[in-house]
């Protein structure tokens, strides 16, 4: 059962990282236009960085 002392912290840390990345995406306005972002992939205009 000693393996638990490693596995539980790992699962918590990985989950926490996921949460942090999600917070980052929210803070950087990545959910402002989900529909448009999904369609922009079809655009032939090169759009290499998100505009504000």
């Amino acid at each position: 059962m000693n393996i638990l002392t490693i596995l539980i912290p790992i699962s918590l840390i990985l989950g926490g990282l996921g949460l942090l990345f999600f917070v980052f995406t929210v803070r950087s306005n990545q959910y402002d236009d989900p529909e448009g972002d999904a369609r922009r992939i079809l655009s032939d205009q090169y759009d290499d960085k998100p505009k504000k």
Binding site: D33, E35, I41, L42
Partner: protein, 728 residues
């Protein structure tokens, strides 16, 4: 334009001593730099490209970005670029566009409340997944010290998470209790808190069952419901608010012979105001100088412009058509007839708030029921075993099992799907219960001018006029901005006619245009001016010398989809009415053309409202579709109301649903979608009840384990969400 209008920073040294003025100019420049446009027609990747390219190609535009979710384009540009230019650019490439007020926009742009909910949702999701992982180990057989450790770790995750994520429920529940009421949030809060408390107690006694995962899953599902609800409403609300600020409130004040552009709010009684052709009267007033024709259709529903000259009273909201007018303000701001009308609406509105939404009526039944059931379970088990721990555990299990996960999702999941579908068709649901009320509609009342018709006239009898007359009329009409002239020009050009050679063309504002053709005087204008008989229909007369009198008859052009919408509504078994302030022949003709059986002409605003009220008293549920100020009282009195985006502010404010595009056909679709949305909501309630009927006896009997609670809760929430998705 005078120099004061351009916010340029002055180069003269004296001005640099006036930092306040400079700061003011800078502020104005910054405010102008960002332009937002509502573009209801955008729907695909190709539209995004076309719009962004067209806007970026316009001189002065630095960048343009389309937001497809909100159907909106944001443009960064130098201060010289006006929103009107950009609307023109978009119209040339075939997209309808409206200017949005940048001030209101920045207020709603960063949706703080939505973001906060999303954060709480994410934290709850993260915590519930981790705790679920630990719980699965417990359910699959972890025992003794391992189980206790898992429970303690779960507690360490759950407590701070609930403290953060559960706040919206705690706040609402507290607010309700403080006023001595019960709402859905009270049982939710009680269940979460009781579950945490008994679980902590159990864990400290090395007990077998802990409900940490249930408390977290509950918070997560309920927050998901709240977030969906918020998102649907926030999009509609922000768009509606920005639309409300659509008519950018500026007016030209004449001060000692100099024209100055000022905000309408700065105008005072007695001010001289210049209204250019095409402009809207900002205040009530009296014409001092100038002659013109005035379009009063938004206020009265009349299609034919009325003559305006010195001494005549005008009301805010009327549109000046042909010549520049100077008016003296007699009432400003809140005192204008436009605002008094809005007050009428506020009174009628209060009647509508009596409608209780399905969710509220469910909560009213549900909240006391759950509390009584749980309290009974607690008392019963305590009397049976005299064991506080068992009794409390069972009471907590009952609260958790009955907790309204599915109920909390039942309504928002469906309304989100339905509003999303209607938004894609160009409809904005402003009011939260609008869909439910729309589903009950059995009678539809349409306004004529501006609603069924586009408000632009169309020539009827071009094929009955000789080509010589058309040529002369075209020459006279092409220089004028009167709507009849514009329409005549467009129709004659489209039919391939060339203008005749007419000299000395002059426009007489309020009357018509005259000129000289082959040495004879020719006139095109209103009947009295060319000495012609009056017709029942809207008409412009052409007089050539003394011989020919030729009438050009006009009719109002129907909006796209008007025929389809009415046919579909009639097919769906709704009673369709036409009510207009316009003359009897015009209304009768329109009713016949569209196949509307019942019509009412020459109706005053109060008549319309009274008629709608009478129908309501008969037990009908009326949907009112209207755009003008004369419709606002009726819009507010109706069970549910729709107005087009081109409608006056007051009308849009009074209505529950705003039609963004020019097409009317989504109306029939909306009624149908609302009907199926309500069916789904009722189904969802039944699913949630069914699950309670099965799970509650188990909980009361003391057989419920955290595993059963988790399974039942997830299963019902997912079924309800999937059922809602069927609407798409």
């Amino acid at each position: 334009m005078t120099a004061t209008m351009r916010p340029n920073i002055s180069a003269c040294p004296a001005c640099s001593a006036a930092p306040a003025a400079e700061a003011l100019a800078e502020q104005a420049a910054q405010k102008d730099a960002r332009i937002a446009l509502s573009v209801p027609g955008v729907h695909c990747a190709a539209c995004i490209n076309a719009i962004e390219e067209a806007l970026a190609a316009h001189p002065g535009v630095e960048s343009a970005r389309v937001n497809l979710t909100l159907k909106r384009a944001t443009v960064e540009a130098v201060p010289d670029v006006t929103p009107e230019d950009l609307v023109g650019v978009l119209e040339r490439i075939g997209y309808e566009a409206h200017e949005l007020d940048a001030g209101t926009l920045s207020a709603t742009e960063t949706d703080k409340a939505g973001r906060e909910l999303l954060m709480r949702l994410a934290v709850a999701g993260f915590a519930s997944m981790n705790v679920m992982l630990l719980s699965v180990s417990v359910w699959s057989g972890a025992a003794d010290a391992t189980r206790d450790m898992f429970h303690w770790i779960s507690a360490a995750i759950a407590l701070p998470t609930i403290a953060f994520s559960g706040q919206p429920f705690f706040r609402n529940a507290w607010a309700a209790l403080k006023h001595g009421r019960l709402n859905m949030d009270v049982p939710i809060t009680l269940a979460i808190v009781l579950a945490l408390a008994t679980s902590l107690w159990e864990t400290s006694l090395s007990g077998k069952h802990a409900y940490f995962d249930a408390a977290l899953a509950l918070t997560f599902f309920l927050l998901a419901g709240r977030y969906l609800d918020h998102r649907t409403r926030a999009i509609a609300r922000s768009a509606a608010e920005e639309l409300a600020a659509l008519e950018v409130p500026r007016a030209i004040r004449v001060e000692a012979g100099e024209e100055r552009q000022v905000a309408v709010s700065e105008l005072a009684v007695g001010d001289m105001i210049l209204v250019r052709p095409g402009g809207r009267m900002p205040v009530d007033g009296e014409i001092v100088e100038g002659r013109s024709e005035i379009d009063r259709s938004l206020l009265t529903g009349e299609t034919i412009p009325v003559y305006g000259g010195p001494g005549q009273a005008v009301s805010a909201g009327e549109v000046n058509l042909t010549g520049p007018l100077t008016i003296r303000a007699t009432a400003v701001g809140e005192d204008t007839s436009l605002h008094r009308m809005a007050d009428l609406v506020a009174i009628a509105e209060s009647g509508r708030s009596r409608y209780t939404s399905l969710a509220d009526s469910a909560a009213k039944l549900y909240a006391p029921g759950v509390h009584i059931l749980s309290a009974l379970a607690f008392v019963g088990w305590y009397l049976y075993t005299f064991d506080m721990r068992t009794a409390l555990n069972i009471a907590a299990a009952v609260l958790i099992i009955t907790c309204p996960c599915a109920l909390g999702l039942a309504v928002p999941a469906v309304t989100t799907a339905a509003s999303g579908r209607l938004f894609r068709r160009g409809m904005l649901i402003k009011h939260s219960t609008a869909l439910e009320r729309l589903a009950q509609v059995d009678t539809v009342v349409f306004d004529k001018t501006g609603t069924l018709t586009a408000g632009t006239p169309e020539v009827m009898n071009l094929d009955q006029v000789t080509s010589r007359d058309i040529g002369i009329a075209l020459a006279l009409a092409q220089g004028s901005s009167h709507p009849l002239s514009v329409s005549l020009t467009a129709a004659a050009r489209a039919a391939g006619f060339e203008p005749a050679e007419v000299e000395d063309i002059t426009e007489v504002p309020g009357y018509g245009t005259r000129g000289r053709w082959q040495g004879r005087e020719v006139r095109l204008g209103r009947a009295a001016w060319v000495e012609a008989p009056r017709l029942a229909r809207t008409a412009a007369w052409l007089r050539v010398g003394d011989e020919t009198l030729q009438a050009f008859e006009f009719t109002d052009r129907l909006r796209d989809g008007a025929e389809a919408a009415i046919a579909a509504l009639k097919d769906a078994g709704k009673d369709v009415y036409l009510m207009s302030g316009d003359t009897t022949p015009a209304v009768e003709e329109m009713a016949r053309r569209l196949g509307i059986p019942h019509w009412l002409a020459e109706a005053l605003p109060a008549d319309k409202a009274a008629r709608v009220q009478a129908m309501t008293d008969e037990g009908r549920h009326v949907l009112m579709v209207g755009d003008g100020l004369n419709d606002t009282a009726a819009l507010a009195a109706a069970h549910v109301s729709i107005s087009p985006a081109s409608a006056l502010d007051a009308a849009r404010v009074a209505s529950d649903i705003v039609l963004l595009g020019g097409d009317l056909s989504p109306i029939a679709d909306a009624v149908q979608t609302a009907g199926s949305a309500i069916r789904r909501i009722r189904e969802n309630f039944r699913i949630a009840t069914l699950y309670n009927v099965i799970a509650v006896p188990l909980a009361v009997a003391g057989f419920a384990t955290p595993l059963i609670a988790a399974l039942a809760m997830s299963a019902s929430s997912i079924t309800v969400s999937l059922n809602a998705l069927r609407l798409r």
